[in-house]
């Protein structure tokens, strides 16, 4: 179970990305996180695995407060949290198998990962996952030789290879075509149900979210403005989250992309500073 308790994030630029966000996610529940660009969705899920440092509040995963961890403990906590990224974020020049096995990095000592001598159990699991996501024929291909949908499947396999207790998913379909988007969303939701795995999916496409998730949290300007089942997501609620708009013709626009980018930039600058 994941408990987020009055989480706050203030960037060094002074921007308040999160203002006391609280919610809990039960085992096996798939939560869709929606909200306009700059509402703090990316910051929120990155605060959970501490790729972004929260400035206040607490995050408890199965009782363990993640905000208090550092060094080796933080890495141990991270390996229990799988993450799936918007632009797949595969290591392009490694093979599909190496990408999937990189999900075990938090478990194996450096020499094993360096010589690519992972325990056979890890390799077995990786093969199983690649079968599960339908990539059994691409094991030794380089990641940059795959199509977008295939890459995202590798991303899913990598996250599951971690044996996660929680899945964080950041805009999994943003760079995919509509059909592939549905396939990927279906796959993510299926694997979560198979494993009774809680997940938070940060997603732009409200219609897609309503189709697949159990519960939706709406974020606006760093605060929760909606929390409930997808069926309760009426036009009034959507207007409250996004502002006035024609909801049935919603498309992701270039402007949104640009705004999204500026949000990404803000924490990238901070990430750079703490990197390695």
């Amino acid at each position: 179970m994941l408990e987020v308790d009055s989480l706050e994030k203030r960037y060094k630029t002074g921007d308040m990305a999160l203002r006391g966000v609280s919610f809990t996610v039960a085992k096996g529940q798939v939560v869709g996180l929606i909200g306009p660009s700059g509402a703090g969705k990316s910051s929120l899920i990155r605060c959970i695995n501490r790729l972004v440092e929260p400035t206040g509040g607490a995050i408890r995963l199965n009782g363990l407060d993640l905000t208090k961890l550092s060094g080796g403990n933080l890495r141990q906590a991270r390996r229990r949290i799988g993450m799936i990224f918007q632009e797949y974020a595969l290591v392009e020049r490694l093979t599909v198998m190496e990408n999937v096995l990189s999900g075990r990095l938090g478990y194996v000592p450096f020499w094993r990962s360096f010589f690519r001598r992972f325990p056979q159990a890890d390799v077995d699991k990786a093969f199983q996952l690649l079968d599960r996501v339908g990539l059994q024929d691409h094991v030794d291909k380089r990641a940059d030789a795959l199509s977008g949908g295939q890459r995202q499947r590798v991303g899913i396999a990598r996250a599951l290879e971690q044996d996660p207790e929680l899945l964080l998913v950041d805009e999994p379909t943003a760079s995919l075509d509509p059909k592939t988007s549905r396939q990927i969303m279906r796959l993510i939701c299926e694997v979560c149900r198979e494993r009774d795995l809680p997940a938070i999916i940060n997603i732009h496409d409200v219609v897609l979210a309503q189709m697949f998730v159990d519960r939706i949290i709406g974020l606006r300007a760093g605060a929760v403005v909606f929390d409930g089942p997808p069926t309760d997501l009426t036009d009034t609620v959507l207007t409250e989250i996004y502002g006035e708009e024609d909801w049935h013709a919603m498309r992701k626009t270039r402007e949104e992309d640009a705004a999204d980018e500026s949000e990404t930039k803000a924490f990238e600058a901070e990430r750079l500073a703490e990197l390695v």
Partner: protein, 271 residues
Amino acid sequence: MVSAVAPAASRRWRRPPVFIKSRFWRIAIYGGFFAYLVMALWSIDLDWTRIVQGLDRGQRFIEGFLTPDFTSRWRDIRQGMVESITMTVCASVVGILISIPIGIGAARNIAPWPVHAVCRSIIAISRAFQEIIIAILFVAMFGFGPFAGFLTLSFATIGFISKLLADDIEEVDEAQAEAIRATGAGWWQIVNYAIQPQVMPRLIGLSLYRVDINFRESSVIGIVGAGGIGATLNTSMERYDYDTAGAILILIIIFVMLAEYGSSHIRKRVQ
């Protein structure tokens, strides 16, 4: 956890080789390289007594570097630096001016083939030889001093700038040249309106970069008598005057840093 897949038998996995896919060539190339390394290392003859003696000198040299002496040979150092700098300026200006027509002539898409062949050969000759070797020849012909150095650096500049300029021109966007040609422009107008705007920023960048390189080179060709700070450095090393040598090295480093900083600053403003 419920797995939807039938449990697979343990499958082994090994990382596929990163560079050479064929097993035979991989072993042959890596093995051959290893054998070469062993032979190469074997062929170094070490004179340990000389090296141990040298450690003492090495220490004195480092001390000299840390306590540089600018004053006692200041006249020589100044003379050397002035020569280096003036050589750099003159050679860069002259070299770049000559490079431009040669570079244009060496571009296949705008020059007729005889011109192309001649210009490309000039470039090839200029690039094939080390500056030092050119300097030896020029010193033999023109006598000791910065004039030979100036010629050396100009010659090397021609090879560098012309080659890159010609490559740039060959890569320009043909559509733009086409559009200008369609207006009825002559050859000069095409070069002026279609080619020049496309390659000019790069040319300026390259020229500034070459100024940098010329200064660095001007500090060595003095060793074979072509003027500049290299001659001063060589003399001070021969006299075991490590404090002065240290001072000269520090000056070289500072000037190179300044030149690099200045040229990157100008490049940013131009582009």
